[in-house]
Symmetry: C2
Subunit: 346 residues, 2 copies
């Protein structure tokens, strides 16, 4: 009754052996497959809940539990501390995922989920982009050039030919280093000039917003005239009052939530009239016809869904099996006599 | 930024080095101290929530989060699968506790909490018994002789002189082995004759109920005439509809919840008129005068409080420090560049 552990070095080995592209492709396809078979009656994915504190900087520690009937329970624990990168040289998001057997309550596995969160958030946008962006070589606009931006662009580059990337971050450090961090993609990148955000947004085919904007301080981009087929992956909004997009854009767009209940609380859907909110992303996957009309702006409202974390953990555990990576630990005190807590442990 | 791990063998070493009695004493005193200083305004201890399933046997995987302002977040994850002992030779309760730093979101520690749950549940009853049981040599009655019964009796034996123990379990296996499992306490134990439960309950000074009775099947003991100073530790009720005590007893008793909000949902308080529910256990600790009147039946309604799990984990981490036990693991993927999820990890 050991617990499988996937730590930082295990995941680094897996990324190395599998390769970034194959890993992202597998994550996108695993999401597509899971969404295609998703039955809301059989999955109990709870909206994110947690502790928020301000001391004085905002911090959150949250849990994202999900249970598929007949399958395991998976919970991601995620910390969000937006001052981490500038003040402590740590990612703003630190996370771990765990999986429990529902026959016994045994903890099957624990994995880092810092990398997994970046991968699955990218993969979800990749899937949404594949389903809704124009199917020609595209220009991608990035607002927010931190850790999530890397996997966002990577995932988009796996489903479309990207001919140009333009991007902006209000902080100089991520803005300066973004070109280096995406060098492995081999894409031409131009920083967006200060004050040129709305012009940039008006010229791109796919826009990604993934900033750490303060609660109540949004939107990050003002009103602009989008291309008629623009697709937006709105990734940053994940807390009540945290918003990135201008109301004007949302009013004219078809908005696709990752999971409606949570998006209404924490996503761009906070500012979208109910009649304008479209199907969930999994419903778009399941639709036999294309959901998007020929000239229609679409917004994928990505707050991060517990089901995506479940998928990401399963993919990594499968890969760990395939490549014989990871370790096992007798974490739980399981006595030989189940009625004797002080008894000799197994 | 490693994560401390306390696994089964680490805890076994600690129990061995510290000794069962000193460990239980420390747990009781740590609870007493934490309750004495408890300020409900500064602690956000969430009621237990989780997934319940019947396939066909009942199973639960639940989370118990708590955050003390200025301190870490602690979450216990607990599985309850009452058929585990008879069908799989596993404890019905399997649990792990984890602690997060609220400056960064870093996962500080993971520990087994199967043993910790048994210890802290015992210690809470020990504390309640110390505060409310008659202060003479006592006879203890035990209903339910499984894993929790061992630490219940152990804790009670640390705060009172126990002159006799009588006990009952509907299952033959725990009933037969209980004497062996409590042999380390050196107390005379008599099994309760079949059908003699109410007579037994009427003759004891302290009664403990810690059964796995089915939801809706309670109470486990019928009406009886208690000694006027009887103190009861009601431990088994921890889910809506799961009840162990007869209404008649609760109607005449002062009922002390471990945490009111949760007890109203899951504990014996489900069947107690509001005006009969007394102060929480921490308020009894804080009261300057004895809460109990000279001739008054008291019931400690122990559903298991997240704050107790927080205390238990802190005690074990302190002991691990003192005895240099446990291991450390780089679990989280923390890249050297916080903006590069694919970057070289630390």
């Amino acid at each position: 009754m050991e617990t499988r552990i996937l730590g930082a070095s295990d995941l680094a080995i897996l990324v190395d052996r599998v390769g970034r592209d194959a890993l992202m492709d597998r994550m996108i396809e695993a999401l597509r497959e899971r969404f295609a078979g998703h039955d809301a009656e059989l999955v109990d994915a709870r909206p994110r809940a947690g502790f928020r504190y301000d001391k004085p900087a905002l911090g959150l520690v949250e849990w994202m539990p999900t249970h598929e009937v007949g399958g395991p329970v998976v919970i991601k624990m995620v910390g969000y501390h937006p001052t981490n990168p500038t003040q402590r040289s740590l990612p703003s998001v630190l996370a771990t995922s765990s999986m429990w057997d529902t026959e016994t309550g045994h903890l099957l596995a624990i994995s880092d989920s810092t990398l997994l969160t970046a991968l699955r958030t990218g993969a979800a946008s990749g899937l949404a982009t594949d389903l809704m962006a124009i199917d020609t070589p595209i220009t991608v606009g990035m607002i927010g050039l931190g850790a999530q931006a890397v996997t966002q662009l990577h995932a988009i580059s796996r489903v479309r030919t990207v001919q140009r990337v333009v991007g902006y971050d209000p902080s100089p450090e991520p803005a300066d280093s973004f070109a280096d961090r995406i060098a492995f993609l081999g894409l031409p990148f131009d920083p967006c000039p200060e004050g040129g955000l709305e012009s940039m947004a008006a010229e791109v085919d796919v826009l990604v917003t993934c900033t750490s904007i303060d609660i109540g301080a949004g939107p990050v981009v003002g009103d602009f005239e989008p291309r008629p087929w623009l697709h937006v992956n709105a990734v940053g909004a994940d807390f009540p009052g945290k918003l990135e997009l201008p109301t004007s854009l949302l009013e004219s767009a078809l908005v696709i939530p990752d999971t409606l209940e949570q998006c209404l609380l924490e996503g761009e859907c906070q500012q979208v009239p109910a009649h304008r909110i479209g199907p969930d992303l999994f419903e778009v996957v399941q639709a036999e016809e294309t959901t998007k009309e020929k000239a229609q702006v679409t917004v994928f409202d990505s707050t991060g869904w517990a089901v995506e974390d479940d998928v990401a953990l399963r993919v990594m555990l499968e890969l760990a099996d395939e490549h014989d990576v990871g370790r096992r630990l007798q974490l739980e005190s399981i006595p030989r006599d189940p009625y004797d807590p002080y008894g000799e442990v197994r």
